[in-house]
């Protein structure tokens, strides 16, 4: 088994978010979300959006659909 498991901290989450946004070549999470919603995102950018939602969840955000 080769799972990667790591404990994050607020500063590590901030750094990871910045790294993911850079990799997605966007300036902000809303910009990337718009690209995903408008079918303009690559497969990798869609995966990054999922990962960014995960970071928000770790920070206390709750996924909601209204």
């Amino acid at each position: 088994m080769t799972i990667l498991i790591r404990k994050l901290t607020p500063s590590k989450i901030k750094a990871e978010r910045a790294r993911l946004l850079k990799r997605a070549q966007v300036k902000s999470v809303p910009e990337l979300r718009r690209k995903v919603q408008r079918y303009q995102a690559s497969i990798e950018q869609q995966g990054i959006m999922m990962r960014l939602d995960g970071l928000s969840f770790l920070e206390g955000a709750n996924p909601r659909v209204r």
Binding site: I3, L4, R66
Partner: protein, 219 residues
Amino acid sequence: MDIEEAAAQFTRELEALINKLIPFPVVLVAEWQQFRGVWRATISTADIAGLPISINAKPTFQLQFKYHCEFHTARKRLTVRSSSFKVMHAITRLPLWHYDYVWEMKKADSAIAHLNVHAHRNEIAAAMAIANPDSDNMEVQALHFPFGGPRFRPILEDVFEMLITEFNIDTAPGAIRVLKKSRNRYFERQLETAVFDQPETAAATLRQLGYIVEPPSLL
């Protein structure tokens, strides 16, 4: 058991399952953090693009998934708060359908687990326009096709089984057998949790079957 052990155990189970389903190795990543006294964990593929799915060795789909979990210290177990399984087309990179589970779904209890299909039908768009004339989203993928509440919802095994039975995707030998075994384990866990949720109903059913069941206060 603590959050690290629980997250590692769940992630290992998932990874072992996936590696028995598809014919190449997959690595998963689990990350966790404490928020206001609650331990939270996320699980996804280490490869940010997700899993490539092929048919007759031809790349056809891409599967991305995520689990957002909380660790219940009293019950020493991980609870999934939300999950998403998204199937995309490998070449056009467009999303095709995705199954979501959102524990705090506000729209409808019946759609806590739901399916979104990225497709278009004029008739549905027209009905949506009548129902919500001020909305700027008249696309079918905005609809949440309900798959029930938090128990016995569609899981990763179901997504794979659908891809196997409907598209004959390339799999490792014995994939269907592995899927069925894993899903039975999931059903057992769901049943266990359902008993925690509704112990009186569980006790009444067991009494109908001839078991002698007494409330804890009488023991």
